[in-house]
Each structure stands twice: as C-alpha cells, then as structure tokens.
C-alpha cells in the first residue's frame, strides 16, 4: 500500500513541478528588463486568477462527479454559467454598460458572487432537501434553470442597443485579461471560508463513491454530506465564473485527466490532481494566447475545442467499455 502512496505523491510532485514551470514560462517570457515591475503588475493578477480558477473548477468538478456518481458530468449543469450571463445582461440592460456595477470592479465581482451563492443555497440546498436527496432531480432543475436564464438573457440582448451589446459581449467570454487584484483577494477569502465550512465533510467523500446505500451502511449521513457538498460545488464554480467568466467546461477535461492519471477513488489525490492539471493547461494556454497569437485568440476557444473533442473521446471510450 505504501508503494502505491509513493506513486501518487510522485505524480502530484510531477504536476507541481510542471505547473511551476508553466507559471514561470507565462510570467517571464519576453519581459523587457526595463519594464520588469510593470510587466509583473500586469501578469501577476492574471496568474493568480488562473491559479484560483483552476483550483475552484478542478475541486468542484471532482466533487460534483462524486456526488452525481458519474464521471462525465460537468458542473456546467448547475446553471452557473447561464446565471452569470443573465446577471451581466440584466445589469447592462437595466442600468447601462457605463454603470459602476458593470465596469470591471470588485463591486461587480461581489454582486456575481452573492447572487450565485443565494441561488446555490436556495435552489440546491433547499430543493435537494425537498426532493429527499434525489440527485437526478437536481440535474433536471439545473438544466431547466439554464434554459430559463439563457432565454431571459437572449430576450434582453435582442432588445439592447447594439453598442451596449458589443460592450456586454466582452464580459461574457471567459478571459484572464480583465481580472483585477481586489477581486482576487475577495475570491481567496471566499474560498477559505468555504473550505472551513466543508472541512469535516472532506474525509467522508471517499465513501460517497460507493453510492447512497453503501454510504448509509457505513454510517455516513448521505443527505447532509451531499447537500453541503452540492452547495459548496455551486459556490466554488460561482467564484471561478465571477472571477474570469464562464469557464466550468474546463472542469470536465481536468477532472478526467486527473482520474486517468491517478486511477484511484481517493479524493485527496484526485482533487489536487485536477487543480494542478488545470493550472498547467491554463498557464500554458494563456502563454500561447499572449506570446504566439498576440491576443488574437481567446483561451476560451481553445478550452471549448479541446474540451469538446475530449468529451467525445470519453463518450466513445465509455461505449467500448
């Protein structure tokens, strides 16, 4: 057993080194030494945002897959992306793109985060209890909400002034280029609070892998643990989305890469693995966007193309098994 543990640690260490290299690559490629501190001030927050986004999306995806007991679901299904689009569309539609709420500032971040937290607690906390712990019901609610939010957003976007719409489009695509430092500190605080709140549930996660009945058999309060975890996942995805835009599709890729790499059920390896894989992808991807494409392409496009292809691969592989 200890040899297995060593292998896991070696793999984690390898990922840490890889992520550090990718981070250094991003941070120090093509820096004019005369403007060193200026470049760091620009790239620093972006690096931090990518770090936090990978952490949130990676951990949330692994937890979500465990709660649903399915390895090809993504927390996109919770409707946080659509809610983000709805919030931003409503703000621009109702008070205009020049308003304080709309220009990128910590206020906008806090508004996003609070709305998502409210939805997480109200819908996923309360409804889950009402549904008697039926997880498929939650997925259904998530997809209905996604459709509802998107329809409202689309309606507003159609009625909007074209210039305003143009402004809006900017904030609806995931990007690390407009992150600001204050938002990052708020995000760090939010993540810390969440981790403290969920701390006692983490050791129970491995048991959830066995499914509801076996978890109950082994003395785990299945409903309470999965309800808390579900709310936690929603808020984590909310933090990442509020920070950089709709990005949760990344979760499918990194969660499954982590599963392929570690081939275990143990969450302490899977979650950190997913977060680290996410960092490697984002750091390297953003370096490409900035150095090779000179901002001509958006990292989101790469994530969606790569993610789509990988999803198909997972489906086809699953069919073979």
């Amino acid at each position: 057993m200890t040899s297995k543990k060593n292998v896991y640690f070696k793999k984690l260490l390898f990922l840490v080194v890889l992520a550090c290299c990718a981070a250094a690559l991003y941070q120090f490629t093509d820096v004019d030494i005369n403007f060193f501190s200026f470049a760091m001030r620009i790239r620093g927050p972006r690096l931090a945002a990518m770090f936090l986004a990978s952490f949130c999306v990676g951990v949330a995806s692994i937890l979500f897959q465990t709660i649903i007991n399915n390895v090809i679901v993504t927390p996109c299904l919770l409707g946080m992306n659509a809610l983000y689009v709805l919030i931003h569309t409503s703000v621009v539609f109702l008070i205009g793109s020049g308003s304080k709420l709309s220009v990128n500032s910590p206020i906008s971040f806090v508004v996003d985060l609070l709305s998502m937290a409210v939805v997480a607690v109200l819908i996923y906390g309360y409804l889950f209890q009402k549904a008697g712990g039926n997880i498929l019901y939650i997925l259904l609610v998530g997809s209905v909400l996604t459709t509802l939010f998107s329809s409202i957003s689309t309606t507003m976007q159609r009625m909007m002034d074209p210039n305003e719409f143009d402004q809006l489009q900017n904030s609806l695509i995931a990007s690390f280029e407009r992150v600001n430092a204050d938002a990052i500190w708020i995000a760090v605080m939010a993540i810390l609070i969440l981790v403290v709140w969920l701390w006692r549930q983490f050791p129970l996660l491995d048991v959830l892998v066995l499914g509801k009945h076996q978890a109950i058999n082994l003395g785990v309060d299945y409903e309470k643990v999965s309800r808390k975890m579900l709310v936690g996942v929603t808020i984590l995805i909310g933090i990442a989305t509020a920070l950089v835009g709709p990005i949760s599709f990344l979760g499918l890729i990194i969660a499954n890469l982590s599963r392929q790499l570690f081939k275990t059920y143990q969450h302490r390896y899977l979650t950190f693995g997913a977060a680290l894989v996410g960092m490697v992808i984002l750091f390297a991807g953003q370096t490409l966007v900035e150095q090779v494409f000179h901002f001509g392409a958006n990292i989101n496009a790469f994530i969606n193309i790569g993610g789509g292809a990988y999803f198909l691969y997972l489906l086809l592989r699953g069919e073979k098994q």
């Binding site: 892998v209 076996q214 058999n217």
Partner: protein, 250 residues
Amino acid sequence: MKIQGLKKAYHREVVVDDVSFEIPEGKVLSLIGPNGAGKSTVMNIISRLLPLDDGKILFQGKELHQWKRQELAKKLAILTQSNHIAMKLSVWDLVAFGRFPYSGNHLTVEDTKMIQQAIDYMELGDLAHKFIDELSGGQRQRAYIAMVIAQDTDYVLLDEPTNNLDIYHATNMMKMVRRLCDELNKTVVLVLHDINYAAFYSDYICAFVDGKIAKFGTVEEVMNKKTLSDIYHVEFEIMNVANKPLSVYY
C-alpha cells in the same frame, strides 16, 4: 431487533400496514411475498434507507434512529442491489471500506488483518487487486459480502441477494448466507423471491401480503400447501427434498 406497528404510505396508498415482528437472534430470516406486498419496503425501513411513517424499531434496546450513525454501522450491515460504482476501485479498496466505521480513512494494523481475513474467507485472494468494474456479477457480489464481513457486524440485511445471478452463483450466495450465520454467528435477514431458497437456507420465514404479515414462523410452519396458496394465489405441492420442505407451483 423488534419491529412494532410499522406503517408506511405513499400519497395515502398504504404499502406497509401495522407490521410487527421480532427478528430471531443468530438465525436466518427470509422475507417473502408477491410483488408489491411490502417486503422490500419493510427491509428498506429497517435498513434506514427509508423513513417510517409510524411505529417503532428497537435495536438492542434502543430505537433505531436514536443510534449514532457510526455506532450503528458497527452493528448492522446492509447490502442492496443498487451498487453502481463509477470510479476506479479495487476489490481490496472495497473490502477496506468495511473498516470505515471503525477507523475512517486511516487503516490500522488490526484493520488490515481483518480485511485480509475477509478476502481470504470469500476466496478473493487472486482478485484483490482487480478493479470492481472488471469483475463478473458473481465475483462482485462476493466482493461486497467480503466488505460486509470486514465490517464485522452482528446483523446483516440483504435485499434480494440472488437477483441477476445464475443458478450456480445464486446457490453459492445462499450457502454463503448460511455460513455467515453458522460460522460467523451473524443474524441474517434477507428479501427473497425464490421461496425454495428461502425454505432450504433459512430458519424462519416471514410472508407478506398487501402490506401485512400473512404468516411468520419456522420454515416448516410456513411451507405448507394452504398457507402458500393463500399468499400467492396459485396451486402448490410440497415435496420433501433432503429433509427440507420444497415447493412446486403451477
């Protein structure tokens, strides 16, 4: 374990109605009955998978819901048919989960010994490092039983353990149930569809009809022409095979 006045209804439709019985310690008890008679519902309630509407379940002198979950998990093991695992998990890992109520995620030397014993008892040594999703149905069932053995409980509740198994594996499963009782001194309660398995391998039978107990007694008391015909509404003949009353229905 004493069950008193158990009631359960879904939207006013009563599925379990005033059911009371006592589970005999150290014996094998089979719950039988036609579809929809409430046997599985009763099983799910005493397995704490379903909440009850009315009644009491006393387990070792204390009401079931007053037990601490972790303590109960050391006394009472359940095994149902919905055991889909989507993740990579080896047989050894699965059996090791049986020790979770005792040691959480950190196995002690004692735990490791118990896990190995359970694996040896179920003759899973060769398969210990295979992943669960690579096993056949019969092997998987054995792995789960090994986990229950590692859990080291006084009571074992099995919900239709012979479902989806062929004659060979189902019969071996029933022999295993007998060994759990005779060799490991466990009280075993199981829901069965096949009344002959119930007749051959259990000590007591509890037959349900329409949410009520139609007959509770030793195998000999339940396995007679009249009782079975009343329960299932088909013709029965009872034959004596290997000193056990087995039935033929037509």
